[in-house]
Every structure is written in structure tokens, then in C-alpha cells.
Amino acid sequence: MSVTTEQVRKTLARRYRAEKRFKAYGICAISIGLLALLLLFTDIIGKGYRAFYEYSVALQITFDPESLEIDDPRDLEQLQYGNYEAVVREALQARFPGVEGREGRRALAALVSTAAGYRLREMLENSPELLGQTRTLWLQLNDDADMFLKSSEAKRKTARLSDQQQTWMLELEQSDEVRAGFNHSLFTRGDSREPEQAGILGAILGSFFTMLVTLALSFPIGVAAAVYLEEFAPKNRFTDFIEVNINNLAAVPSIIFGLLGLAVFIGLFGMPRSVPLVGGLVLTLMTLPTIIISSRAAIKAVPPSIRQAAMGLGASKMQVVLQFVLPLALPGMLTGGIIGMAQALGETAPLLMIGMVAFIVELPAGAMDAATVLPVQVFLWASSPEQSFVTMTSAAIMVLMTFLITMNTLAVVMRKRLERRW
């Protein structure tokens, strides 16, 4: 055994131990990350899953013309101002006879959502022959009553219903007059002040239109800028200056772009407030540096041998770029684009300045209608006092995260599939 071997043996144990420690640190770090992720999902899903279903109560509704104050069901004005609440109240009082006093009657009426009234109006509008008839209908419950049924025994004691209201609800529950169904309004309606009627469709459409504008503008401009900078720009100080500035733009806080949007797009160009077009323009400015930087990296990764081969055959610079460089760099550019979009989807701050943080009930029909976006909806609901909005906030977060995870997964899958080995 040589001297070297002896010395090596002495330190060998220590080296292996150091290696094991390093591995352990790595595993620790990943575990912490995964744990955080697990906590996040557990918390959000735990709070949010209850928003996806809702309770309705079965009531015998009589479309009494006297109570409704409607004699002609085809008269639109009468329909609009009909007293549907009275009809619902009557049905409830028929179910729970003997309720005395104004307070008591109000408490009883408060169990059913105001959506019921609108639904009855819709039914009457579509089928005027209903006037005077009686039907058994499943009507949506008010958010407090809905929350009560969704809560556990312990939580029910501290619910926002009075003892009397709780007794009624328990009675309805025991005789199966309430049932749970999928919460359609969550995905078919826009924002509302009543939690049981609030939905995220408005925000989803707003996000969709905003993303559309952002993609349509930032991708072509970003790719073109990257191609120019990589292929055609002369290598001088001015080009370096541009490069430095583009990299710096990527680090600018996003709210600055919002201020820019307010001053230039709304102030100077006079575009309307709160529309996805302006939101898309602002987010384009924000995403552009990301797309330019990732596109440049993709272009740089195209091996020079392909360029040389094409040029050797007599392809012009333009042909080399369009027919070889771009198609080969495209997977990388698309990945960068998707990641940029995913980033933009979750932005709130810049949109705050241009007015997209607002209570908007109507669903937007295009990029020029006032709209809000998903993360903003989350923010607005989180600030509302009603307890049911806590559940709705978590549900909206779940939808937003689904979109983000899908987009990022798509980016990863695309990158894997389109990667070429040189």
C-alpha cells in the first residue's frame, strides 16, 4: 500500500459524509418547497370546494296575478316591475304557517335568495301561460342559509341565522326539502353583491380578451424585435444600449406600466377606462421584454452549421432567417411566450391604474367592453365583508390556478416534444 492510498483512505470517509450531507440539503430544500405547495393547495381547496355546489329549497309557487300585480303577462313593463318577492314570501308562509310579526316574516323571507325573484320573472316571460298556475320549484337559498347547510355541526352554532331561522332550516333539511346541486351561476354570471349569485364568467371573459390582445401584440413584436437584434442589427454601441434597456425593462415593477397606460393610452389617446384593449396594451409592454429575451436565446441556440449550409447554397439572409432560423427557434419562442402569458394572466397591479379593478356585472362581449380579470376578481371578493365570499375567493383562486398550471404544463410539454437534439 502506497503512502497516497493511506492518505486517501483517511479523508475518504469524510468526503463521502460531506456528499451525503449535500444530498440531504437538496432533499430538504425540495421537501420544503413541496410542503409549501401542499399547504397552499390544501388550504385553498379546503376553503373553496364548497363554492362549487349550492343548496336549493323546494317550494310550491303560485303565480298569483294579484300578488304579482300583473294582469297581462305579455306586457313587458308589468313583467319588469312585478312583485315576485311577494309570491316567494307567500310560498314560504304556506310552508311555515303561524309565523307572526314583521320581524318573523322578514326572517323567513330572508332564507331564499333574491335570485329566485329574477328566475320567476324569466319563467313568466318565457311562458306567459304560467300566470295563475302553481308549480313546485327548486329555488336558490340565500348565502347565509346556504352556508348554514354546508357547515359542520359545530360551526352551525355560530352561523348568521337566528335560532328561529336555524330551526326552519333543520326542518327543511330533515324532510329532504333542500338539495344540493352544481352551482351554475359561478360559471354563467358576472360579479354580484349577493354571494350566491356571483360568478366568475365575467372575469374569465375579461381575462380571455385581455390575453388575446396581449398575445396578438406582444408575440409578433417581440419575435420581430428579437430577430432584428440577433440577425440584422449591427454590433455597435447603440445596439448594446438597446439590449441593456430591454433587460432593464424586464425588471421594472409592473405597476409602472399601469401608470404609463393611464397617462398615455387613457390620457393621451383617450381610450376608455376599464377595457381589455387597454389592459392588453399595458400587459403587452410588460411581457415584451420577457418574450424578446427568450426569443433571442432561442435564436442563439440554432446551430450555425445550418445557417452556413443554407448560405452556402445561396440562400439570402432573409431566406435563412425565415426558412431555417425561425422554424427551428419557434419551440423556444413559444415556450417563452406561454410563460410570459401565464405571468400576465396573474397580474393585478398594472390593471389597477387603468380602471380594471371595478365592480362590473355585465359580461363583456368584446375587447372594448368594460371588464375585469380573474386575479382582480379574487382581490375584490377577498375585500368583501360577507362570509360566503371567503369561499368564493378560494374557488376563484382554484380556477385561476387551474389555468396557470395548464399553461405552464403546456409550455413544458411543448418544449419536450419539439426539442431537437443536435
Partner: protein, 349 residues
């Protein structure tokens, strides 16, 4: 490439000279305290009429008035909500930008409550106690008329009748209108009970304001951000902490928090409406007369808001925590709104 350059230039010029685009939805900005009420009215209005639902942004009272006073035109808001009255400086700003005819409407009251968890003790404090517990500088405890940095650590230090619990209050940050109201109604209210401090108001107004409206920064007052839900959550987890927020949040969360009595008075509809409960503030909205008739629905929205079924004692806004003004006042404001009478500028005297 020259042709492309020309094209780009032409497009840029065309874009910049586009006139402000037409709008058919009422645009409202302003206070985050009025927001929960305005949005309910807006939604009802949108559902029950053929007008589109007005768009409402929560920008804060100050921010809203600033936007409102930028000028007349479809890119500027039609109505602004405020949890305090418009200031003279804001009125001047409006005038200088061409916003001359403004209609003021008082909506009702919002109570400012101090609350703790339902699991905590039932407290009854006076405004003086609140001032001594919360202010940055307080009168020297030995009785001389000088100011010292706030030395009180527990509620018992401030008032022996109160429990021996560390002073910890969670409340809104300086950017919030609620904080302004707390400073004015709560802290200043207690400050004024010291005659020599009250006299300072006439001698040195600025010093008076800085003494009577400054909140301590040594950790006993914790700023919780603009989201009142977070304050409620904090109270839920710590029974000894107190929180400051608007009445509507108390109303919606009575299973979690309860109000601290101020001088024996509990905040509710009656006590706030009558003025018995000392920490109440008025809420307003302001209408730009120049936009009426140009943007459809403004007058009809105002009519919906000033109707008793909205802001009356049995109205749907009361269900949401609004404390209605007395009936005769309501009628006065409703008339004001209906006739769109403009502010004269004398309101600030």
C-alpha cells in the same frame, strides 16, 4: 423601407387624434367604504331596468375625487363616492378643470367600531381612554400641561377599571379613509376632553392636529392593510386584540366579533343614526351635472339610490349595514338630487 415608415407615422397620428370613445355605462369611482352600498344599488338598478349596470371602482375617497375633478368628458367618471365631505381644495380643483356643477348627496351614516373577538371580554371604554391608549404623545400622567411620549402599556394603565391586558389594536393604514375617520372621531374625540389641548385648536391649528390625530408607532397600534377581512381574522385568533373597522363588517360577522361599547353605548342602527354613538361619519356621493343626459342612466341611478326602498329604514342597504339618515334629512337630500342642484362653495364654511 421608407413607405413603411410613412405608414407607421400615419397610424400613430390617427390613433392619437381619435376622440374619446362613446360610453353607455355609468362610471363611478370613490370610497371603499361606500363601495359595498353603491354596488348593491348598481346591481339592482341594472337588473330592474334596461340600463347596463354601472361600473364601480374602489379607489378611495381622495383618489376618487381626484379622478372626478380631472374634467368633463366621457373618459372621466360621472359620479364619485366619498366617506367624508369634499374638501374646499378639491372643489377648487374641480372648478379649475371645468367641473363646475356638482350635486352633493348624503347617503347615510357609517359607524366606526372598535371590536374584539366574541371569546374576549366585554369592554366599555370612553373616548378619553381611546385617546390615551392610541395617541403618539399624551399629557404627562402627573397632571402637568405638557406632552410626553405615550407611556401606557396596558388598558389598566389607562383606566384602572379596564382589564390588565396589553394594549394591542389592529386598524387601517394611513392611506385609508377609515383611518382618517378614526383619527378624527376616535382619537381627536378623546383629545378634546383635555381642556388645554382643546384650547390649542384656536392657538396653533397645525400643532393641534399633529397632537390630537397622530397614532403611536411603538407597536401597540398595528396597521393591517386595506382589507378589513384580515382584521377580523386576526381578532378571531387572538381574543385580547382589538380591531377598528366599519360597521358593515361588524354586522356581517357577528358570530366572530363583538363591539366594544363607547361610554356605555353599543353601536347599532338607532344609536348611530341618532348620534348617541360618537364615532359615526356621513357618506356622500357627488354627481357631475355636465354628464347627465350624455351618459344614459345617471339620473335614474341616482333616483334608485335616493329611494326609501334603498336607503330607508327598511331598505335593502340597511340590510347591508348602512345606517340611514333621519327621514326628514333623507327627503331633503332626495329633493336635492332630483333637481340636481349644484354646490355653491358655501358648504365649507
Amino acid at each position: 423601407m421608407k413607405n413603411t415608415h410613412k405608414l407607421v407615422l400615419a397610424a400613430a397620428l390617427a390613433l392619437s387624434s381619435v376622440p374619446a370613445m362613446a360610453r353607455d355605462t355609468v362610471s363611478i369611482v370613490g370610497s371603499s367604504t361606500v363601495y359595498p352600498f353603491a354596488t348593491v344599488v348598481a346591481e339592482r338598478f341594472g337588473r330592474n331596468t334596461s340600463f347596463p349596470t354601472p361600473k364601480i371602482e374602489s379607489t378611495g375617497s381622495g383618489g376618487g375625487l381626484k379622478l372626478f375633478c380631472q374634467g368633463v368628458g366621457t373618459q372621466h367618471p360621472d359620479i364619485t363616492n366619498a366617506s367624508r365631505r369634499m374638501k374646499q381644495s378639491e372643489f377648487e380643483l374641480c372648478k379649475s378643470n371645468g367641473v363646475k356643477d356638482i350635486t352633493e348627496v348624503q347617503i347615510g351614516y357609517d359607524g366606526l367600531v372598535v371590536a374584539n373577538s366574541v371569546k374576549g371580554p366585554d369592554l366599555d371604554i370612553s373616548l378619553r381612554d381611546l385617546y390615551l391608549a392610541m395617541a403618539k404623545d399624551v399629557p404627562n400622567p402627573n397632571g402637568t400641561e405638557e406632552l410626553v411620549a405615550n407611556p401606557y402599556k396596558t388598558w389598566k394603565d389607562v383606566n384602572p377599571a379596564l382589564p390588565n391586558v396589553k394594549i394591542e389594536v389592529v386598524g387601517p393604514p394611513p392611506t385609508s379613509g377609515t383611518r382618517d375617520s378614526f383619527n378624527e372621531l376616535g382619537v381627536e374625540g378623546g383629545c378634546k376632553t383635555f381642556p388645554w389641548l382643546k384650547a390649542m385648536k384656536d392657538q396653533d391649528k397645525n400643532k393641534y392636529k399633529s397632537v390630537c390625530r397622530s397614532i403611536r408607532e411603538d407597536g401597540h397600534y398595528i396597521e393591517a392593510g386595506e382589507n378589513d377581512n384580515l382584521i377580523i381574522q386576526k381578532l378571531e385568533s387572538s381574543p385580547n386584540i382589538l380591531g377598528v373597522f366599519g360597521f358593515s363588517f361588524l354586522d356581517q360577522n357577528r358570530s366572530i366579533v363583538k363591539a366594544v361599547k363607547i361610554k356605555g353605548v353599543s353601536p347599532n342602527m338607532e344609536t348611530v343614526g341618532s348620534g348617541e354613538y360618537p364615532m359615526a361619519r356621513s357618506m356622500y356621493f357627488y354627481v357631475k351635472k355636465a354628464h347627465v343626459g350624455v351618459i344614459p342612466g345617471i339620473q335614474e341611478y341616482v333616483k334608485e339610490f335616493t329611494n326609501d326602498r334603498a336607503w330607508g329604514d327598511e331598505g335593502y342597504l340597511a340590510d347591508k349595514g348602512l345606517i340611514p339618515s333621519p327621514k326628514n334629512e333623507r327627503m331633503k337630500w332626495a329633493d336635492n338630487a332630483k333637481s340636481l342642484s349644484s354646490m355653491t362653495g358655501k358648504e365649507f364654511e
